[in-house]
Amino acid sequence: MRNQFNLAAVLSVVVLVCCGALLLNRSVSAAGEGKITGTVKLDGTAPHMKGIDMSKDPFCSKAHASDPAHMETVVVGSGGGLENVVLYISDWSGAATVSTTEPVFDQKNCMYTPHVLAMDVNQKFKVQTSDQTAHNIHPNPNPMTGNIPWNQSQPPGAAPVEKSWKAPEMIPVQCNIHPWMHGWFVVVKGPYASTDASGNYTIDDVPPGNYTVTAWQEDLGTQAQKVTVAAGAAGSANFTFKAK
């Protein structure tokens, strides 16, 4: 009886110490500027992106009268470059917040601009509306991560909403009023970048060191590569996703 009690007590102490060690084992990297650049491409035929029927909302359909809107699940640019891929350092152990900029997520012509907004943990970002129709902005994270879902109205002329997220997570965001409006808040730890229309990216503020760079695409998944950033030289990592 007595022994069992001791055993259990020792076990719980050991486990708790292990937890503590895991949490504290986060070294802070030395300061210094470097970067990681590259291109993300799609190998294969770009998938067909369905056109969006906005006829239920005259404001939205008028905004796209001459330029019909399409889904943005996989956006392929010139030369097969993939847009809206988020690149981040998945084994980052440096400071949690490196960027002081405030990324903006705009509700414009009943679409999200950008479709994918990347940000650091605890980095403030802004949601604004440029539309003369009512939206609601409704991210749906998993509350078990520590990110809590919220849902705010964005009628025409609404003031921007300023928020941040506590934990790394790929968070889907939607407008319930316009069900085709679907985007992502990609919350990562440390430096990050998103690809432009040609699939190019640059992750800034990376101190010299060895890293794992991960590329995330909402439909095609993730890929990772080892990259070395030497003092005074940029690291490089190109990614190719196979078309489904």
Binding site: F5, A8, S12, C19, P58, Q132, I148, N151, A167
Partner: protein, 296 residues
Amino acid sequence: MRTELRKWSLLLSVAAVLALPLASSAQLTKYDLAQKLNAEAHVGKLTGHAKAGAADYRRYCVGCHGVLGDGNGENADWMLPPMYQKPRDFQLGIFKCRSTLSGTLPTDQDLYDAITRGFDRSNMPQWNTLSKQERTDLVAWVKHFSPRWANEQPGTPITIPPEPEVTADRIKAGRDVFARVQCWKCHGVAGQANGPSASTLADDLGRPIAPFNFTDGSRPKCGDTDKDIYRIFMTGLDGTPMPSFADNIKPDEAWDLVFYLRTFMQEKSKEKELAKQIGLKPVDPNAPAPAASGQQ
């Protein structure tokens, strides 16, 4: 006594092992079994204790909300359309009826009121047959299911100014608010839940959900007093498409909107009478939305 200690110590180590993956994600740290079971609730002068609520939960709630509080009780599978709404998953800690802003935990009073009131058009009955103490204990037990209460404070309740006198001008002003923030997109221009977006709505778990129909005699899920209606649209119903309007409707305008919404409802009211007298017409969805007062 020693047997008790041993039991707790074993439970603790099991909890610690289970908590390991959580702890390494650095978010939900301080959530252990002892803390869970010591959850308290404070409603008025009453203090509820989780452990004291466990027996009532097992007797009255477990059939729908489940042993784990995840809404997967054995009755849950039988809750079919038109009663789409499944029992609440208490582990997520996300609640419709709150006096607090969207994305924050409700107050203990909010949970107590929800248990007391039940939910119209759902399988959740009123539990006002249980004593106040029992209901307060149940609130504590409901809280013990979600780690959110160990990691967060409940939100601050919104301030609701005293209700002004209903006037025809206020009802008209309420109609302008209804047009400006475009409630009709889901609820319809006459509150009949038939707006252009009504048919495509889904809750946070992807299940179809209908907007509130003001005209068919239904009672709002989070209460049907004027104050309840004020609170519902200002804080929003988390987990559903209904957003918070607290940033976009001023407190005084909010009362105007409450009065306008009353004109849709079946019950006789001063609002309905006044609207009839002045021949108030529904908003025109094709007209440009009126500008916000004080803005632009």
